[in-house]
Structure formats: C-alpha cells, structure tokens
Subunit: 185 residues, 2 copies
C-alpha cells in the first residue's frame, strides 16, 4: 500500500477535506494499546480554532481509548483503501491489533499520543475541546491542533458511506468562486 508523504497544513483549512463528508479512520492510543475505527458520523464546527464534532458510540472499542486519553487522530483514507475501511469497520480492536491486521503503518504524531496512519492522505491530530459537550458520553467536540496533508494529488478521491455496504466516491470538482457575491467563505 502506498504511504503518503504529508506536510504541515494550516488547521484553518481542514474543512476543505472534511466538510465534504468522507469516511475517516480514527486512530487512538491509551495505556500502551492502539485502535482504529471507521467513522462516517462527523462534522466541522469551527475554523479558528478548528473544531470538529463526531459521534462515537460506546459499543466501539475506540470509545474508551478516546474518552480516557482525550485525544485521537482523524485520518483521511483514499478510495483505494476501501477494503481496509470495510475491514476495520467490521471487527473489534478489543480482539485484534488493527494496524497489524490490516497492514497499516503507525507513525508518531507531534502533539498527541495517538498514531498517524502512514497510508492515509491526511491526518489531523485532535484534543478534546475545552468546551466539552459530551452530554450522553458519545458526542465529542475536538480541536484539531495539527494537520498533516499530502501535496499530491491536490484533492483526494474519498469514500462516502450510504449504509448497507454502499459507498459514493467523490466526483467532479467545481470552482464557483466567481459566482459568490462576496469573498467566498
């Protein structure tokens, strides 16, 4: 599998990759163990600071790791990782080391203990935001404290889940800046 050489990226711009709604891989570390989960339930919440919300049900092994460590890395897989995305979403880290099982390479992050996934196009280091909503324990608001993004391709082909084993793959890009009455945000 291809590893992406990623570069430092402005956290204020992570919406360019996350707001379109791709499936992501959440990596976490706690007490000497790591885990990865496949996640489609997430959204942007702010730019500066870069805030990112997601829902991680308690039934996921990763829930405990992110809850206890208050950290995670949001990794963006490209469409060629379809098999890994499905496999990771269909087994539990309680029974297995998902990095080993799926041939993925953990790389050290800078700000958090959770590892980056070398085979992903982008990785976003997250800390639980100060203003923790978490009303029912499963809704998390993260601050993205550091972003690593590959330079090529300029925009990746991403997977977008529809449920029931069906995915949409990101399609054509449209630049509509000239249609915006004011500076586009």
């Amino acid at each position: 599998m291809k590893k992406y050489r990623k570069q430092d990226f402005d956290t204020a711009d992570v919406r360019r990759l996350l707001e379109p709604g791709p499936v992501v891989l959440v990596s976490s570390a706690w007490n000497g163990k790591t885990d990865i989960m496949t996640m489609g339930w997430h959204m942007m919440i702010g730019f500066t600071p870069a805030l990112f919300g997601c829902y991680i049900d308690e039934s996921n092994h990763s829930h405990e790791l992110v809850r206890r460590s208050k950290e995670c890395v949001i990794n963006l897989p490209t469409a060629d990782l379809l098999e890994q995305v499905i496999g990771i979403g269909n087994c539990s880290g309680a029974d297995s080391d998902k990095f080993a099982l799926f041939g993925l390479t953990p790389e050290p992050a800078i700000e958090v203990r959770a590892p980056l996934i070398a085979e992903c196009y982008a990785s976003f280091e997250c800390r639980l935001a100060d203003a923790e909503p978490n009303p029912n324990g499963s809704l998390f608001v993260w601050q993205i404290v550091r972003a690593h993004v590959a330079r090529t391709p300029k925009l990746p082909k991403t997977l977008h889940y529809r449920g029931d084993g069906q995915f949409m793959i990101s399609g054509r890009e449209i630049d509509s800046r000239r249609q915006f009455p004011n500076q586009a945000k």
Copy 2:
C-alpha cells in the same frame, strides 16, 4: 426549476442520503416568517430514532427561527440547484424572503410548521430531540420525525462544499455488500 414529487420514506434510512455529507438547505418558520439557510456542518447521530446533529451559528438569521420554534426541515438539493445554494448562503433572511428571492416553492410539512422546499430531492421534518445538548446554543440535535424522498433518480447528484467557493459533486456509487463479513450496517 424542477419540482420533485416526493414519497413517504422510512426515517431509519435517511442516512443513505445524509451520511455522505451533502450541502443541505434548512427551512424554518417562526412567528409568521420563514427562512432558508445553506448548511454543510451536520452529521448523523442515530438510526432509530433518526437523530441528526448540526451546527447553526448565531450569526445566521435562521438560528433564531429554529431555536424558538424547535423545528426545522432539512432539504436535500441536487447539483442543478448550485446557483440557489450559493445565493441562499450569501444573503440574510433578515432582509429578504428567500423563497421569493430564489424562486423556490414552500410546501406544507406534516409534523412541523417549517415548510418543505418543493424543488429539493428530499425533505426531512425535524424536531429538537428530547436530549438537547446545545451546550453553547449553536449545536443542535434533531429527531427526524418524517422523511419525504423522490423515487427518481434512485440516488441524486449532490453538492459537497470544500469552502472558498469550491464544491465536489457526488460521483460513482459502489456496492460493497459482498465484501462485508457480516450483514452490512
């Protein structure tokens, strides 16, 4: 503009349209006035009941309408509504009637007072969920209480915002059910 004839749809299946992360149009009604806003910051949170989270900043005119009415309709525009999606996102309902301004047709909903948008492929009637997190007043969790979806096309071409005036349009569909080790969820 084309109006979609929508049919009743199982709320447990709305993720098929919302989880891939499309831009949606939020319609609302309060005190005899309506509004529409363009929104990309949202996520699924549950299936049964169908829960849907979103972030609506206080700076949006719609914020007050949805907060006071505790209701809204999430409408799914297809890619041919690009001009309306951009226009609605770049003006304020405080100054204008966006239905009239953008030539969109309000249709009565069944469970809520907020109107459906006839020109959208799908419309989801929402009530503020009992378990209201809303820690800072801008993060909403809705229960989708009724869903209206067009039968054709089977899946719509949707708009996915990248910021800075750039959109991704939904691309190829992949059916991976056979690659799932268990029944796909």
